[in-house]
Structures are given as C-alpha cells and as structure tokens.
C-alpha cells in the first residue's frame, strides 16, 4: 500500500473536522476523494501533506509514519501536492516555476552552490531538459518565458501539475485539478492525469466534477461531515442513495454527475 490513512481524527476546538477516517491508496491508481463542501476533504489533504497535524491517528506513506513531519520533509520523501487555488509564484516565469519544482538541487544551498558550480550547472541542464519535456506534454512550452501570473486559470492548473512532476513524486495529491477550468481544457487535464497513471504515477484527487471522477478514478471515498460515508468503485458508490442524499442535503453539486456542461466555466482572458 503506497498510502494508508489510519483512524485519523482532527478537531479544531469544538469542531470535529475529521472523525476516524481511514483509507488506502494503491500504487498506480487514481483515488478520488469526494463529498459536499465542508465535509473535510481539504483538511484530510492538509493532514496527509503535513500542513496540519492530526488530533489522533496515523498516516503511513511507503510504510513510514509521516503525520508528525513538516510539509517540506514530506515533499522530499516523494509525496507532493497542489493547491485548490493555484498559489504558484506569479512574478516568476513558467520555466522558473518548473525549475523550482525539482527537489534535491545542490544549488539550493548557497555554500554547496559556491563550492560545486559544475555539478550545479549539470543538474540545472538536466532539470531544464525535463522541464521542456513536461511543458511540451501539456502544450505550455510556448509560454515558458511568460510570468505564471499571466496564464489562464486552466493553464495555471496544468502548470501546478507539471511543476509537481518535476519533483518525481511517488504520490501526487491534487486539490480540485479542474475547478474553474473551461470544459475543453478539462478534457486536456483529465487526459494528462490518465496518461500519467498509465506511466505508473499514483494520484489522490479531490474533485467535485462527478463526470471527471467517473472517468478517471479507480476507487473513490465519499466524505460527509468528517466521516467516511462510502468507499469503493465510482459507479457503485455514486449510485448509492445515502451518497446522493448527502450531496442533496448539503446543497452540493451532484447535478454535475449527469451534466458535464454544469461544470463551472472560466472566463477566458
């Protein structure tokens, strides 16, 4: 098991955000995390990636407990995440963002950079090469020298995705990879994610767009009010009455389940 969340609970004062949640993510799969707004999905991702500490429970990544590690430490062990709102440095170019994504760079420590300039240059060349490959994969290579802040919402999501790939992660957490993206670009993003799974990458994805969830997830987990409501194959789970009810009572967006056009669209700049 690549990732195992075991009996995780998280309290914020009197509020129980997560209550005894357990799940496991298999190597090479896309695991979907769904549920109405406020059900605890982002809290769970923040716990796994080290930005929050659980009140109780364990997170095992590649067999090691990681729930007490700092976020940067967790990222360096190969568990990387993106954010719901893309927070990429805006006044850095797309290429600078990509190069920032690579981990284990000698040149990031100033003394090492001064002592081994040849090694730093060599590594930089390798990273540059890989960055071009990834940018070509998502058709962003023409934007390499533009500021990340000038990209459209969908392009920013793509950049965040390939930036994380620069770190060569073993598990990628995606927080709403297609939210606010126009339908055509949603297609592209889904294709890229599915293609990466074929290459052996593993994903844990928070997503509200049920069409997308059905298309790409191998397994999903439905959270409701901090608890696991259902877990299993997408078609099976999403057909269950209690799952539907959870969405309807929360005023959620199950409507999207049958209607791809209901996805929120972005205004293209």
């Amino acid at each position: 098991m690549l990732l195992a969340v075991e009996n995780i609970s998280k309290r914020f004062g009197g509020l129980v955000a997560l209550d005894n949640v357990s799940l496991t993510v298999r190597q090479g799969s896309i695991f979907g995390l769904v549920g109405p707004n406020g059900s605890g999905k982002t809290t769970l991702v923040n716990l796994i990636s080290g930005f929050l500490r659980p009140t109780r429970g364990r997170v095992l990544f590649e067999g090691k407990e990681i729930q007490n590690r700092a976020p940067d430490q967790i990222a360096r062990t190969g568990l990387c995440r993106t954010f719901q709102i893309t927070l990429n440095p805006q006044r850095m170019t797309v290429m600078e963002n990509m190069l920032l994504g690579a981990t284990a760079q000698y040149g990031e420590r100033i003394i090492a950079a001064a002592l081994r300039p040849g090694r730093v240059r060599q590594q930089e060349q390798q990273n540059l090469q890989r960055a071009w490959e990834l940018l070509e994969m998502v058709h962003l290579e023409r934007h390499a020298d533009e500021y990340a802040g000038s990209l459209s919402g969908g392009q920013k999501k793509l950049l965040a995705l390939v930036q994380v790939l620069m770190a060569e992660p073993h598990l990628i957490l995606l927080d709403e990879p297609v939210a606010g993206v126009n339908p055509r670009l949603i297609e592209d993003i889904v294709k890229v994610i599915v293609q990466l799974r074929e290459q052996g990458h593993t994903f844990l994805v928070i997503e509200h767009n049920m069409q997308v969830v059905r298309r790409m997830c191998d397994e999903i987990c439905v959270l409701d009010m901090g608890q696991v409501l259902a877990q299993g194959e997408p078609e099976e789970v999403l057909a269950r009455d209690d799952v539907l009810r959870a969405y309807i009572s929360a005023g959620g967006d199950i409507a999207q389940a049958g209607d791809p056009d209901a996805a929120p669209t972005e205004t293209t700049p």
Partner: protein
C-alpha cells in the same frame, strides 16, 4: 571640488554596497529588513574595535567585520525565520536599535573608547604606500572594486537555484515552497547571512574611510535612505540599486553647494520623501525594472 566629487562617489559606492545587500534581501527574497543599518554598524564596529583596540591588521579586522555582520544577520533572522513581512519589519527595526544602544553604552576596552565617545583613529589601509593627495582616488577605486565584487556575488546568488527559492518566498507562498520540499526557514536565514556579510563589508569600508565612528552614524534614518535607494532604483534589479544609491547620495550630499540658508538642510529628506512617493505612484517598478530571465526555446537549452 574634485576632492568632494571623489568623496561623494566613495560614499555612494559604500551605500551602493548597502543597497545591493537590501536588494538581495528585499528585492529578491521579499524580506522587509528595517534594520539594515544594524548590519552595517556591526561590520563597522567589529573592524574598528579590532584594529584600534586589539591592534589587528586591517585585513583581518575587515574579515572579522564581514563575518560578524553575517552572524548578526543570522541572529536577526533566527527568531523570525518562519514569519511574514510585517513581523520582519518590526523585529529588524528593533534589532538594529538594540545593537545601536548596546554600542552607545558599552566601552571597548578603554573608558574613553566606544560608548558615546565612539572609536577614533581607525587606520586607513595602505596609507603609507599611496602618494600624498591621491589617497581619495585610491579609496574610491577600492570601494568601486568591492561594489563590483558584491554586485557579481549578488547576481550569481540570484541566478542560482538558491536565488530561485528566495524569489519563490518573495512571491508570497510559503505553502508552495514547502509543498515543493524547500526549507524556507533555512533559505531566509541564508539570505540574511549573505545580505549581512555584504552590508558588513560596506560598514568596514565606511569605518576605515571616515576614520571615526560613533553611534549617531547609525540611526534608523540611514536604513530608510537605503530603502529609498532600492525603491528608486528598481526593486529586484541590482543594477538599479547601485544607481539609486548614487542618486540619493547626490541629493543627500551634493546639495550643500547650492548655498541655501541652513534651515533648508532638512528639506533634503523632504525631497527624498517626495521623490519616493512619485516613484511609487508613477514608476512602481523603479528606474530599472526587474528583468525576466529568458530560457529561449527548447533548442536553446540543447546548445
């Protein structure tokens, strides 16, 4: 008049080194250091005290001054390495004032050295080897060489992967940098160490040029002069920081030939203030805006 121009350029060069240091800290890393003058002061005092009181050779005093200022930069950053800009502003301002008050009260080995007496008789390097009358030119060349060296170091650091991490911190999201596995605290502390070393070198050059220092040279006002230099020149462009230093020093020192009545002296600060407001309003990127680093096409990378 020539002697004055040489003096002005020397002081502008020393402050240019200071503004390069702030350009690295603020322009590249986004660290709001309102205690810049503290780093300068530690460099100046360490070298002055070691050469005057302990009798060290100037070169060793200078190295110790640079090292002490780097250490002071690290000390400033240690408690606030995880915090954001507004906290940095308060904490660094306080740190610089603290060190100034310490030097204002501490005598250095002799009851009449240090404290409010200051340190006098700071030796000038290679004084006996330089022909009479040309020492000013020699020192200007020395300062110019140091400024060029600091410029090279800052440019190198900012273009390295280390500089990229610093820039990502400036852009606001600790979360993104952390999610990409960067040690943000360590990066901030390293930036302050390098910035401190550079500002410290400025302080060393200042002390051995003027020959006398006391705590009144290191008031918070000086920090804001350096800020004016960086903002005017173009935050994030290190060449701009040097240009800004020259312009601000011309206003600050060069206006004494205008033969205005004494009460106009304070107007220099008003003039600098107005200039900064105008720059922020109409040229927010400064005289020389930050440049984008271009990687060209993929084929450019292969070449």
């Amino acid at each position: 008049m020539t002697a004055f121009v040489v003096y002005l350029l020397t002081i502008a060069g020393i402050y240019g080194i200071m503004s390069l240091s702030l350009s690295l800290q603020y322009g590249q890393t986004g660290l709001v250091n309102f205690g810049q003058i503290g780093l300068f002061m530690v460099g100046a005092y360490a070298s002055a005290a070691l050469t005057v009181v302990a009798g060290w050779p100037i070169i060793l005093g200078a190295i110790a001054g640079v090292a002490a200022a780097a250490l002071f930069g690290v000390l400033m950053a240690l408690p606030i390495g995880d915090l954001r800009q507004d906290y940095w502003a308060i904490a660094t301002l306080a740190a610089a004032e603290l060190i100034r008050v310490v030097f204002l009260n501490a005598t250095l080995g002799d009851p009449y050295v240090g404290a409010s007496y200051g340190v006098s008789g700071i030796p000038s390097p290679l004084l006996e080897l330089i022909p009479d009358g040309s020492y000013g030119w020699f020192y200007l060349a020395l300062v110019g060489l140091c400024a060029a060296g600091c410029y090279g170091v800052v440019i190198w650091a900012c273009r390295s992967p280390f500089g990229r991490v610093l820039k990502s911190l400036r852009e606001g999201g600790d979360e993104v940098a952390q999610a990409l596995g960067k040690e943000v605290r360590r990066a901030r502390i390293s930036a302050m160490a390098l910035g401190g070393a550079i500002a410290g070198l400025g302080g060393v050059l200042f002390a051995h040029y003027i020959g006398y220092i006391d705590p009144t040279y290191f008031l918070p006002l000086e920090t804001f002069l350096v800020w004016a230099m960086v903002i005017l020149g173009g935050s994030g462009n290190h060449l701009g920081a040097l240009g800004g230093a020259l312009i601000i020093q011309i206003i600050n020192n060069g206006t004494r030939f205008l033969n205005l009545p004494d009460q106009f002296a304070a107007l220099r600060m008003v003039l600098i203030g107005v200039l900064i407001i105008l720059v922020i309003l109409y040229m927010p990127k400064g005289l020389i805006p930050e440049r984008r680093r271009r990687y060209g096409g993929r084929n450019a990378a292969r070449r």
